[in-house]
């Protein structure tokens, strides 16, 4: 276990100080780091990665929570809906992305097709061909993949809220919205907080969606740190320089998680003293 998980991390650290490639490797000190810090494009990639993560996770949490609420409502067929919500998560990402690839097709996909019929756009529109539309299209696909799991977990949290809380509030004349805000939200908060962090980490590392939809293009508009690392290390065989970038990913994630947890603690304390 350590061999396959702990060792690669140490090896990555070691490699980041070398110029390893397909040939031999030599110790070159901090050169890779210097090169990376002087790389003009890199700050943009880092910023884009965090923006990608923030936007995607936010949407996943909002849609996921709404989805959980809907699945929790007392309506007919909710058992079937609960099953139907799962496929994006169950199906291999690569295959789900193929479906989206066609949806985004500017001439013949259903999105462009419907938009054209409605007259919102007056000609074919390639969603993945323009910088910003490609980025947001990738976000939508990523949200699609991530939402089901969040919905299911939040749903489970909602169901573990004791019924008597709702009944007591109902007897006291609390409206549905009030009950949601004052009972449901606080009760499911721990799960939301945990899921946000986990989801953030997964989104940060998400590879398949971007790779299949755009391979980081057009013009690098969807290149996140993971895609960038992969291109450098595996596609260009620059293991050493790639390792430096990989470590940046680990570092960013660690810093982010730490800040998130510290912030969380602060908030918790404030609630306690109130």
């Amino acid at each position: 276990m350590f061999l396959i998980v702990g060792w690669p991390l140490l090896e990555t650290i070691r490699l980041s100080f070398t110029n390893a490639g397909l040939g031999g490797e030599q110790y070159i000190g901090w050169d890779n780091y210097e090169k990376l810090l002087n790389n003009r494009k890199y700050p943009g990639i880092v910023g884009r990665t965090f923006y990608w993560m923030f936007l995607s996770v936010l949407l996943k949490m909002i849609i996921g929570t709404i989805g959980a609420l809907l699945l929790n409502a007392k309506i007919r067929g909710k058992a079937a809906f609960r099953v139907m919500v799962m496929p994006p998560w169950i199906v291999p990402m690569a295959i789900g992305c193929i479906g989206w690839l066609w949806l985004y097709n500017g001439h013949f996909g259903i999105l462009a097709g419907v938009l054209m019929r409605l007259g919102i756009i007056d000609g074919p529109f390639e969603f993945l061909a323009y910088k910003s539309s490609a980025f947001y299209s990738a976000v939508v696909t990523d949200v699609w993949i991530g939402t089901p799991m969040i919905s299911i977990f939040i749903l489970a949290a909602m169901q573990s809220v004791p019924d008597d809380l709702y009944e007591a509030a109902y007897v006291d004349g609390a409206s549905r919205w009030y009950r949601f805000r004052r009972i449901t939200i606080p009760q499911i908060m721990p799960v939301i907080v945990t899921m946000s962090l986990l989801s953030a980490i997964w989104t940060f590392n998400s590879f398949e969606v971007i790779w299949i939809l755009t391979e980081g293009g057009p013009l690098g508009a969807t290149t996140t740190m993971i895609i960038d690392t992969y291109k450098m290390a595996i596609a260009n065989y620059k293991f050493g320089y790639g390792a430096t970038r990989a470590l940046m990913v680990v570092l960013s994630l660690a810093v982010f998680s730490l800040l998130y947890l510290i912030l969380l603690n602060k908030i918790n304390e404030r609630y306690k003293t109130k």
């Binding site: 276990m1 702990g6 199906v91 066609w102 097709g113 994630l253």
Partner: protein, 279 residues
Amino acid sequence: MGKYTLFQKAGLYLAVLIFMTFILLPFLEMFMASLRPLEHLFRSPYQFWSNDMSFQAYLDIWDTVPMLGRYIFNSVFLASVTTLLCLSFVIPAAYAYARFHFKGKSVSLGLFLGVNMFAGAVLLIPLYKLLRSMGLLNTYAAMFVPGAAFLVPTGIWLLKSYLEKIPIELEESAWIDGASRIYILRKVVIPLAVPGLIVVGVATFIGAYAQQFLFAITFNQKREFMPLPAGIFEFVGYQSVIWNQLMAASIVGIIPVLLIFLFLQRYLVEGLTKGAIKG
């Protein structure tokens, strides 16, 4: 408690409809595209329904990409081996975490979850070098070994919370009767943990099936070992994409996981969420 008014009810159903459309639209579109003849796909303006739809593409896929059957077999095979390998690590480890107290327990558990964080793409480089130097690139092992390694932490985490719920008295009485640890694990714990094992097994299988793409395109270039998520891109040619067949093959490819999921979804949803919330 508080019945919905008719108006609220309508709104609720509408919202469910919109939500479900978002979730299922890509699959619907895949299915629709797979039914259309290729030349029809490139017909503008967009038509939702037409008369020339057929299941022809489902017959043609086997000729266009003769290895397709092999890819599907590879996928199922790889996912199965990954699951077995993963479980053989997870069961003893989860048991140890659930029952014994040892130094560094919470630290190492944290590390395990940390692995989830550093997943796949970051550790690819050393794995790539390692597999290359061991001559394991372009083999099945190149895909299922890393695959299993990345699924072990989640598995331990899930199974641990399951095992903790098994009353310890049962094990203690077996212990007093002179049973060994291994014997207890085999004859007492595992039978009681079957529902938990199903959950972990299915979750692992699905995870293994889903993650194949990255490992496959990185560690393997041999066509005969390709799993479906990677092999399916053979329909994407240099000149043109045979869209309808690509979609048909995708749908054929997701049927195995969907079937497994449908049979076991009851356990899966319950087990996953229970373990996570109370664990």
